[in-house]
């Protein structure tokens, strides 16, 4: 059964230096509050796994948490580069960052294989492209019926999976809704898991018998962090803060402005700072 913890305790107990760590959330429900707590606790040498290492990994990598990044698309969506990731890759600042690069289809399949307890995933992919030349983890398998060749990638089984969800009930069962990305897969594929939620409620208010629910016994820790996905969003709670993403381009472009911003907004703050965003419902 999931334990109900505060965020600092959950990160202290579950996330260790050197871990393979996946913070997931496909644009929606990105666990920013959890990422900030990991930065504050100064974790080092993490292998960070994420399909779309956008701002949260830009911040974690810029603050020196990671030695490796496993990813399939790294940028500030609709805005431009993730400058801190580029600085790490191009100039080794603040430290070198090894890359293991995939396509979205491969990573989604690799999470899926991890959740299904398979050692690898296969896909009709990587045909005629250069990525297999620079990523030796991309291999091939032959269909035992048709003789066709398919691409393979190893299953992703993180040490720790971290997601943000809408709400949990008092038993620790968790509901997601909207764009659910590969969050279910990450939780089921990971050895340890932290799920931050907007609220803890008596009744999950699942709208459908087929609602996306992770049972309590699949989760390590449940942490209430209202607003904890900001500047990403939480379906039915608050909308995406697109102006933050746009502003990040300038903040992150130079090391000095980045460090100053992190000091003020992350190092000197706590999870409670996210609560202000929980009530913000943009008209859409």
């Amino acid at each position: 059964m999931a334990k109900f913890l505060d965020l600092a305790t959950a990160v202290a107990e579950m996330v260790h230096d050197g871990d393979v760590l996946a913070l997931e959330g496909f644009t929606h429900l990105i666990p920013f509050a959890a990422g900030h707590e990991i930065i504050r606790q100064k974790r080092r040498d993490l292998t960070l796994v994420r399909m779309t290492p956008d701002l949260i990994y830009d911040q974690m990598i810029g603050m020196g948490c990671a030695s490796k990044l496993v990813f399939s698309w790294g940028g500030n969506p609709g805005v431009g580069s993730t400058h801190r990731i580029r600085d790490a890759v191009e100039n080794q600042w603040p430290r070198p960052l090894a890359l293991e690069e995939h396509s979205h289809a491969a990573m989604a399949n690799a999470y899926e294989a991890g959740a299904a307890n398979l050692p690898f995933a296969m896909l009709r992919g990587y045909i005629g492209v250069d990525l297999p030349k620079v990523n030796p983890q991309i291999r091939k398998i032959t269909c035992p019926y048709t003789g066709e060749e398919l691409a393979t990638v190893p299953a992703i089984r993180p040490d720790v999976g971290v997601i943000h969800a809408l709400r949990a009930d008092r038993e620790g069962n968790v509901l997601l809704e909207g764009i659910t990305g590969c969050q279910k897969e990450v939780v089921l594929a990971s050895k340890r898991t932290i799920v931050t939620v907007e609220e803890i409620v008596d009744d999950l208010r699942a709208p459908s018998p087929n609602s996306v629910i992770l049972p309590s016994w699949t989760i390590g820790a449940v942490v209430a962090v209202p607003g904890g996905a900001h500047p990403s969003y939480a379906h039915g709670y608050y909308t995406r803060d697109n102006s933050y993403y746009i502003a990040w381009d300038k903040i992150s472009r130079e090391r000095e402005t980045f460090l100053a911003w992190m000091e003020e907004n992350v190092m000197n703050k706590g999870p409670d700072a996210f609560a202000v965003h929980a009530g913000r419902r943009a008209a859409s």
Binding site: S72, H104, A105, G125, G128, I179, T180, G181, N242
Partner: protein, 256 residues
């Protein structure tokens, strides 16, 4: 009466026109998304737009900034998990059109969005492939939208992120890929289509007021022109009005 419009507007309008009411289109973010939604709001109201975030048959009122803005989910027929999107819907062969952009393109419509310079010692590290490598082979055909320029239209790609017709135009077929690959390349100056023999992307239509010289100057290889090159029909009032409206709504919504 002639309307005034920008090259970018011409490009978006021309891209939108390429789409049909019956298409099921896998939409890339940015310029493809603008073109696809313009098509939906003008001549192709029944078109099915799908974003890799899992949103199926979405009808956003403003253009999403990201591939997974809430607007996409709120207006979708249904939203599926990302692994299902790539397995059942993209790999499943459900998409008639994949609509891509890119940082660099070569004459056979191979795309690079990964890196400039050596992969291991990059001069510029680009975002990477995302969905593109599998979009490029699993959709029935590919439309590409990109503004021309010598840094974008290059003679030789440093890295092939997604395959067009292959480095010499023959690899796609040689690898046994059954889908058509890039059938249209829509730019701010002209429209390209693959030569039926060589698969080289060839200018088939030039936008009003653009010269062949401009196209040549903005292309990193010497572009071929089809035997019969036509003039692209200029955007009409309705197309421009709808496009400008959606862009105004988008700007207001994103608070940019």
């Amino acid at each position: 009466m002639s309307l005034s419009y920008s090259p970018n507007e011409m490009m978006t309008v021309a891209a939108a026109r390429a789409l049909r009411n019956e298409d099921v289109c896998f939409v890339g973010i940015g310029a493809p998304s603008a073109a696809c939604n313009l098509a939906r709001m003008t001549h192709a109201p029944q078109i099915t737009l799908i974003y890799e975030s899992g949103t199926i048959a979405t009808k956003p009122n403003v253009l999403p900034l990201s591939i997974g803005d809430g607007e996409l989910c709120d207006t979708a027929l249904t939203t599926v998990p990302v692994p299902e999107m790539f397995r059942y819907w993209l790999q499943g062969g459900r998409m008639t059109v994949g609509f891509l952009g890119g940082a660099q393109i070569d004459r056979f419509a191979n795309l690079n969005t990964t890196v400039v310079g050596d992969y291991h010692k990059p001069k510029v590290r680009l975002p990477g492939g995302g969905g593109a490598p599998e979009i490029a082979t699993n959709c029935h055909e590919i439309f590409i939208i990109m503004a021309m320029g010598k840094r974008a239209f290059v003679d030789k790609l440093p890295f092939i992120t997604s395959m067009g017709h292959g480095p010499t135009g023959r690899e796609r077929r040689a690898l046994g890929v059954k889908s058509k690959g890039p059938t249209r390349l829509i730019t701010d100056l002209c429209l390209f289509e693959p030569d039926p023999e060589t698969q080289e992307m060839t200018v088939v239509s030039i936008h009003p007021g653009v010269t062949r010289e401009q196209i040549i100057e903005n292309c990193g290889w010497t572009p071929s022109f089809a035997a019969h090159v036509v003039e692209t029909r200029a955007p009409d009032a309705k197309e421009l009005e709808v496009l400008r409206d959606i862009q105004a709504r988008t700007k207001a919504a994103h608070g940019g």
